[in-house]
Amino acid sequence: MTVLLECRDLVKRYGRIRAIDGLSFTIEAGAPVGLVGPNGAGKTTLFSLIAGFIRPGQGSIHIHGTNTPRSGQIGILPQDAPFLKGIRVRDQLRLFARLQGMNAAAALEESRRMAGDFEVADLLGRYPEKLSYGQRKRVALAQALLVQPDLVLLDEPTSGLDPVAADDVRRLIRMRARDVTFMISSHNLAEIEDICETIIVINEGRLVVTSSVAELRGQDQHMTLELETEATDAVLATMNGTAGIVRAHFVDDDRGRIGVEYDGQDPSRLQMELLQLLSEAGIAVVRFSRGKKLSEGIVRLVRGDV
């Protein structure tokens, strides 16, 4: 894997507020990366710095080792940024493609192709300010991927969209994830979990952790069992006595949900043993999942519990 993006000691101040405070991380080409953090953590500021909308007070940003990315090397879907007013979508997409080095005919072809891929072909002749929010988002996504950039920054790609439109956008992202590296900022952790393999967590402008989704969920140390009927203390005690289990407990004092922390050795065997134990106790398991919710892992990290 080659390093695609390297941010080193980034600092950005707005007056006395340090929106980004000594942030350093790298992203490798290939796998989609999620950027998460609470409101005001500095996610949008970080994207703005990478895309060049704002200048860092200190630090450096390198794309493929250079601090002057070539035209169109980065694509971006900014959060709610408007297109140029009073200029048809077709003309704007063509302009973008031409700026990325295409001649007039190729730019027209590329903008038509992208519009087709993102199902906005019928919007090409319209003015951006006349489009609905969802339509604008689709067009913005199409422009972000014009002429295949190396890195695509998506800032809240599905916020404000209805579930169907949001699902379409996620599908389009997944479809393209083989060709370009996505960095996605979103509060929708299910979306991040669904699309991304790696997550960068930031808080108050500082890096909290860079980790894989599986690691953050504690996939190899946690299980959750949802039961059809409530379990007794005796069942729980038996579980706690099982080899390999570090701790079994009722989740939020709900006797219908048992959380299990284990030592990470042979989880499949442990899973079978637990199911058998519950079956012998006459308790059916409705749902079984490995790992915690992603949000739990992130909340603990942001609060500094780990």
Binding site: S48, A51, G52, F53, I54, R55, P69, S71, G72, Q73, I74, G75, I76, P78, A81, P82, F83, L84, K85, G86, I87, D91, Q92, L95, F96, R98, L99, Q100, A140, Q143, P149
Partner: protein, 267 residues
């Protein structure tokens, strides 16, 4: 800095400014003003200026030598055009250049462009687009005046054409620093209206203050390019080239100041 991208951006902006508020704010008053002037000259104004009475009045504003050069040695209609254009060009340039960057920068509309071109390319392309718009308008206006002059003044076609070309060249070069002056405000403000107001007010305050302070602080006259205007009437003067070079220096200084604002601003 990529010349191709600058050209693409400038032509795109030019094409889309002409029929939008951005361009019409300049074009409408410009066209109406010059149509009124052409009508006035056509309806006897030109004859009046070259009459004895007219020349007498002109000598209140110009030296007798200059009056002779402008209205006797050269086609009077074109000389009137030159005088009026040099006087009104600052106002038209303020209207033409106030929204080079301010509106789009304030709305965040440059965000789709900034990963595809540099700030410098964006900055220069918008200035270039503005210059081309004003130059084209001046060219058409002078062409109309040349036609009128041929009908009224009775000079040879060649002489009239050469004088017209000289006038349009001087006017375009005079417009360059005025447009660049407005670039400073457009690059630093977040709205077209603010840029227009601040630019216009600043221009006229500097103009009035420099006239008022020129005895104690003579350098204040050289804050605006207007100080070089008196040297632009006589095309036979050896100082003409020096004055035109001065205008280019003004342009570069203003563009550098505007760039200092634009390169650091949050877009």
């Amino acid at each position: 800095m990529n010349a191709r991208r600058i050209l693409i951006l400038a032509l795109f902006d030019l094409r889309h400014s002409v029929l939008r508020i951005k361009g019409l704010l300049f074009l409408l008053p410009f066209v109406l003003y010059w149509l009124a002037i052409i009508k006035l000259l056509h309806d006897g104004g030109a004859e009046f200026v070259v009459s004895q009475q007219g020349i007498l009045i002109t000598t209140f504003f110009l030296s007798p030598d200059m009056t002779h050069i402008l209205f006797i040695d050269n086609p009077a209609v074109l000389s009137i055009c030159l005088m009026l254009a040099l006087t009104t060009l600052p106002m038209f340039c303020i209207l033409a250049a106030n929204n080079q960057l301010a509106g789009d920068a304030g709305r965040g509309a440059f965000r789709f462009l900034l990963t595809r071109c540099s700030r410098g390319e964006l900055y220069l392309s918008r200035y270039l687009s503005c210059c081309v718009l004003v130059a084209a308008a001046l060219l058409l206006m002078v062409a109309g005046m040349v036609y009128l002059s041929l009908r009224i003044d009775g000079f040879q076609l060649r002489d009239t054409l050469l004088y017209g070309i000289s006038i349009v060249t001087v006017l375009i070069i005079y417009a360059l620093p005025l447009l660049a002056f407005m670039t400073i405000f457009s690059a630093s403000m977040s709205g077209a209206m603010g840029s227009l107001l601040f630019g216009a007010v600043s221009f006229f305050i500097i103009l009035i203050t420099s006239r008022w302070m020129d005895e104690d602080y003579p350098w204040t006259v050289y804050v605006l390019p207007n100080s070089l205007k008196p040297g632009l009437y006589d095309f036979t003067s050896p100082d003409l080239l020096l004055n035109l070079s001065g205008l280019v220096v003004f342009t570069l200084v203003y563009l550098c100041i505007g760039w200092l604002f634009f390169r650091r601003r949050n877009l």
